[in-house]
Each structure stands twice: as C-alpha cells, then as structure tokens.
Symmetry: C2
Amino acid sequence: MVDLEKIISLCKRRGFIFQGSEQYCGLQGTWDYGPLGVELKNNVKRAWWRRVVYERDDMEGLDTSILMNRLVMKYSGHEDTFSDPMVDCRKCKKRFRADHIDANEKCAEGDKHDFTEPRPFNLMFKTVVGPVADESNVSYLRPETAQGIFINFKNVLDSTNRKLPFGIAQIGKSYRNEITPRNFIFRVREFEQMEIEFFVMPGDDEEWHKKWVDARYNWYVELGIKPENLRKYEQAKEELAHYAKATVDLLYRFFPDRADEDKQYDEVEGISNRTDFDLTCHTKGGKLVLNDGREIPNTHAINKLTYFDHKTNKHLLPYVIEPSAGVDRATLAFLMDSYCEETVNDSTRVVLKLNPELAPIKVAVLPLKKNNENIRNTALKVKNELMKKSGWRTVYDDTAGIGKLYRRQDEIGTPYCVTVDFDTLEDNSVTVRDRDTMAQERVKIEELQTYLSQKLGNV
Amino acid sequence: MVDLEKIISLCKRRGFIFQGSEQYCGLQGTWDYGPLGVELKNNVKRAWWRRVVYERDDMEGLDTSILMNRLVMKYSGHEDTFSDPMVDCRKCKKRFRADHIDANEKCAEGDKHDFTEPRPFNLMFKTVVGPVADESNVSYLRPETAQGIFINFKNVLDSTNRKLPFGIAQIGKSYRNEITPRNFIFRVREFEQMEIEFFVMPGDDEEWHKKWVDARYNWYVELGIKPENLRKYEQAKEELAHYAKATVDLLYRFFPDRADEDKQYDEVEGISNRTDFDLTCHTKGGKLVLNDGREIPNTHAINKLTYFDHKTNKHLLPYVIEPSAGVDRATLAFLMDSYCEETVNDSTRVVLKLNPELAPIKVAVLPLKKNNENIRNTALKVKNELMKKSGWRTVYDDTAGIGKLYRRQDEIGTPYCVTVDFDTLEDNSVTVRDRDTMAQERVKIEELQTYLSQKLGNV
C-alpha cells in the first residue's frame, strides 16, 4: 500500500494539495486545495450530500455560521472542557501535546526534553466580534459544525414540519488549535466536516445507532475503499466521552508503514449515540452537565428545543445519533486507497483508480497532433459539447505527446480519455480509452455522450 | 418589486435563512442557511463554478485556507490600510461607521449624538495560531479569498502548465468586522465570495476587463435577473482604489423602496483591473505600494511570482482582472428578483420564479390522498427513482391537501410538482404541474425523467 510521502509528493506536483501560505514559509496546520484537489474534495462532499440528504426521505440540510454567539460554546461545554493536555520543555521552551510525545525526539538544548506537568490547553481559536475589543465580545471559530445544528433544531422543525425520526446534515469548516498538527491533512488546524445529527425517539436510539454505523461504513466501501483498509472500532466504556452512550469509530489505514498493525489505522469518522445531552444543554431552562458532574443551568437560551409527540401528547427531548466525518481525512483515504503502481511495457504506470463519481476530471479530450489545426479545433469542440451536454468536468490538453498525456490522466484518476486523430476528420469518430483496462474503443462523436454516460453513471 | 422585509419573513418561515445564533439572541452580522437556503446557495455557487470554470478552456479552480500566515496580510496591505472610519458618540458610547451615519437616528442619551472625530478601524478579525499566545503568532480571518489565489500563482502555474491568459477561480468564506452590519444578508461579518483572478499579458488588460464585465453581467441575466434591476457602474477616477486602473461595479436593485432611485442600487459584484499590483506585493523581492505612496519592500516571500513568456524570452509579472462577487448578495438578488405575487381565484399566490438551475427543489412528488397506502407508496417510489436517475433534489410531501401543497412549492420556487392519484394506480401515469403556468399534463411514469429532463435542462 502507498505511504503518505508518495501521496504528498503527487498532491504537490499535480496540484491536488499545497502547503498553506507556502509563499511565506507556511502556516502550520493549514493546507490549500489546488485545481484537482478542489474538484476531488467537492466530489467527496457532493457524494456525501447526495447519499445522506437526497437519497433519503428523512433528512434536511443546513449551513450555519462559523462564528457564533459565545454562549453557544459556553453551554455546549467547549469553553470549559475542550482542551488537550499540554507540556512545555523547560530547556528548549517548545510546547507539545502531552499524549503525543515522541520519546525519540531530541531536545535542541540537550539530549532529552525536561517537561513540565501537563496542563489543559483550550483548542478553540478566539477572536473579538464588533468594534469594541472587550471580553463581552469574544467569539470562537467553531470547533465542530454540530453545535450550529443543535441550536437550529427548532428553526428546522418549524420550517419543515418534520416528524421523528429525522436528521439534519451539514458540511462546513471547523477549527482546532492543535498543539502539534502533523501527518499532512490528517491532523490540521483548519479542516472541513460532514456531520449529521439524527434525532430519534428515546428508546429507538440503539437501533438507529447500528443503522447509521452500517450506512456510513457502506458509503466508504461503495465509493471504493477496500474493506480490508476500513475498520469499525467500538469504544470501550472507559474510552467514551461522558455524554456518549456508545461510539463506533471508522478507522482507515492511513499509516500502513507503522510496525504495529493496530496503529496503522486511525479515525476517519465517528458515529456516536449522544442521547439528549446536546439538546438538554441548549434548551431554555436546560443545563450542561460537565464530565466532573458539575451542572451549569442554562439561563440564556430563548427557545425550548423540544419535540411534541402526538401519540403521547407530550413534549420531549429527542435522542441524537451523530455520524461525524472529516472531509479532508475522507479525501486522503480515497487518494491513498485508489493509488496503484503497475508495470506496463517495463515502465511504471501510476494510476488513481478513483470511483468516477469522485474523479476530479471525468473526461480528457486529447488531440493526436496539436499542430494540426483541424484536429485541435475538433478536439476543443468535442470537449465543449460534451461538457455542455453532461455537466462533467472535462478538459482539453495538448501539451505533450499522446502517450504522456494518457499517463498524466491516469495519475490523476481521469476515467476516460478521448483522442481525436486524423481518421476523426473523415469518420467523425474518436478513440475512447479506459483508465483501468487501457482498452480502446472507437465511438461516433454523436454517440459519445450516451456511451460515456452508460460507463460513468450519474456522476 | 418586493421589499427586503417580505423576503426576510419568507426566508425565516420556509427555512431559507435564519438569524445566526438566534437561540442566544443572535450574533450580529451572522446568518444561518436553512434546509432550502443551503440548496439555493449551493446552486448559485455551482452555477458560477460551471460557467466560469467548466464551460471555459482558460480557468482553474482553487480552495485555499481561511487562516493564512500573517505576512500575507502585511504585504497585501490589509494590515496597514484595510479599515473603515469609525466614530464614537460621547453621550451614549455607541460606535458607528462614519460614512454610514443616519442623520435621523436619535441618541439614547438625548436628541442628537455627539460624535468624536473619525478614526480608522481595521476590519480584520484577529486570532492567535499555535499554543503560544504572543504577537508573533497572530493571524487573521481572511477579508477576501483573493490573496489565497495570488500567493498560489506559482503553485498553479507549475502544476498545470497554463499559458497566459488564464484565470484561477475560488469560492469561500471571508470575514470583515463591519462596524454596523445591516440589511439582512447584504452587509454581514461572515460571508462567502466567488472570486476570479484572471492573469493576462500587460497590454491585453483593458480588452479582458471589458470581456469580463460583459461575461459577468450576462451570467446574472441568463440566470434570471431582470436587466432593469441590474446596472453597470463604472467608477470615476477619484473613486478608484489606488491599485485599480479601472473598476466596473454590477449594482442590483436591493433597496427598491428608497426614494432616490440611484440609492436603490448597490453592489453585487465588482470587476477590477488591478494591473500587477498584487503579484508585485507578493513576489520575492517585490514591494507593496501603499495609497500614501509609501513603499514596503517584500523581504519574506520565497518565490518569484513571474511568468516566462516564450515569445520574448522574458520573465514578467502578469496583469490581473478580478471579477469578485458576493455569494450571499447574489443569492439575495435571485430571491428578490424571482419573487412574484399573483392573484389566482381571488387569492394571492406567492411564487419564486427561480431559474430551475437555482431552485432548491427541482421536483416535488405529492400523493393526492395520503391515507391511501398504495398512492403513498407509489409516490415515494416515483420520488426515489426519479432522484436516483436524475440526481435532482426531489422531495415527497403529504402534510397537507393538494392545493396547499402546490402553493407551498410555488412559494419556494419548485419548477414541477408531480401528483400521484387514484388513476395512477391504473394507468401508471402522473400529473405534472408547471410552477409558472400552472398548466397540468399527464405523463407516463416510465417517461417522467425524460419529460422533466427536457423541461429542466441540465440542472
């Protein structure tokens, strides 16, 4: 299996992902998606939205603000407890996450670090909103999209007439001031999430938790992740967050070169049964229960976040199942899982065998001879008509010979190449080449879109 | 024409747009997009991306980080000059944007405000990145997506082999700490932009500026904006920012109830000829020229942001045309422009005559009788099959009588309603109702997708 270094190099060279602020030596924990990366990431998000919102009858979408009233983070518990343990080295003055210390790392001021006791470091980025810079105007960059869903529960209920069970899905950026960001886009400070809060009747929560674990596992596999690289990991009682009744993590094999097999796998998504913890935090007259048992009554919320059950004629707080996925991690998993090296005619062919739905470019139209004006113009015309009819990302490329152009498209996962040659000018046909089999077929231009639609499906 | 108040009310009631953090009395200048709003806004973004990236041969996409190295904002000039004039009232202690003062607003502590002299207020939100909270780790929430494009110019060039002219397009959130956010989603603190930086040979800039003004104007009109509500406004010499050679603003009629006709129109997009100002700021060994003439040499950038011209064998700094649009403002313009009230059978029908490409829901499938299990199941089946085949956002609704369901779909802009009735169970046909004409047609279920595809086009 491919290791991270190869993927990082491909990503930089071909324009998937660049280091953030590279022109100024970077900003640690930030990454920029290039021309191909933005397409791939958008396709991952669209494939998620399609499966969890469009293809179901029990979901609504939402897109809430990253900056929120500070009270949201007070009553969610993030202000008090969203922290990692941090240590300082007394010699070199560097800071580390206490649970991520590498025993082999040498201190710059001597062989070994001299660490302080761990203390909590709040991971939220702080800013001030409005023209007066005082404590009352503090706000945070949200550390998760989830809270935006909870505080809008009543707005969604009122505007859609939904009945339980139903869910709310959201995609958006979140921020965590990680002490030690690392491993490419795996642990970063600015990232994107795809989160669902699925609201159910108390008592139905365990069944729905199982259903969502299966649904989410299947999503990755249907989009091409090999089952042997994806694990379900059920957290033990003592690992669970205090608000969770059960959590199953989906672990992808991000680190295949680690010696310990269990350490090769790390989280790409978590699916939690959070009971009514969150709605209780944010409902008018509710309370936040901290992990040490302390209770903070909610004296600010303006609406009851309850659901009226017509069967029992009672208002109740629904339970919540939360499938929470990282967009960047999912994107990385799809990149790693689709990467292949094959030997073809004694040379190495690199192919991203991405599911066509995820491929940044669906079809590349290539002229056999770029110096022939007829061939070039025909190729551009084929490309533009195909794009208009299909809506697919299609590209034209004439910056190399045909063999090299094929390899370039293989390396970025383009499922089909269409070649315009001298015969095309006579027979109005083109050669269609399949990325995975490299088989070539001659197709009439007028039948090209139908032919490719059948191959590509609804991408 | 509809005024803002009616749109705000519709948006809240039907789940397009809610006040941000409403559950905690809001956070001024932030808004949350509800189930219909997120679809509409995504469709606006997709329609833009499709036209400016997919349908052209000279564009690449990009998605860069919101948090950037502080030096980006130093050398772009934002740290020094991105400010609005602010005044304080000595009596009531409130702050105002000096150029937005409403002469009729009364001071809470007496009839008239007693204002201080204006002073500059930097509009960037500040935060600290990393575990050490000192000045050297300051970062800003980007005030525009543009800078992420400029600093990646070389990365995109190297990974794509592009030749001039070509452009880079980006959609993403930006942040401005507006002193007085107002007018719904028109002036906000967290917003989304769709920006293009189009790089051309110096000398070709004026021609490309004109082309882009036309292309962008046509985009709005093709998607349904009435030409009488959209104006091109060419900034006079004395209005231009010091780095701009020419700027044309596209103004939409956001405020139709203002007495002064000119004040009814305000900016939805600006198209500027920025020359080589930005690449000069950020290139290695370049310099920032401030509006007072001061020059700040760039001593930090690591790459030359030049382009090698094979014709002259010289490295040069391209000129830049920047079409910069607000996603939220465009969304608001499409909402306002499509809003109609019609009298039908003595009652008022509210219709959003949105272009189908923008409509949040493409097709609603409605059962004539929800108590009939056959009808209900057939409707659900029709909905799910149609969705799977087409990829469209389709919904099922049975929470009211058919007349009311039609009106509900009209009000949110759904182009087609499909009704499943008793005859359907016999003849496998459904009734398709057109939003705008209200005409109804009987269509075989097996032909439904083709029928609607022809009507809806490639949405």
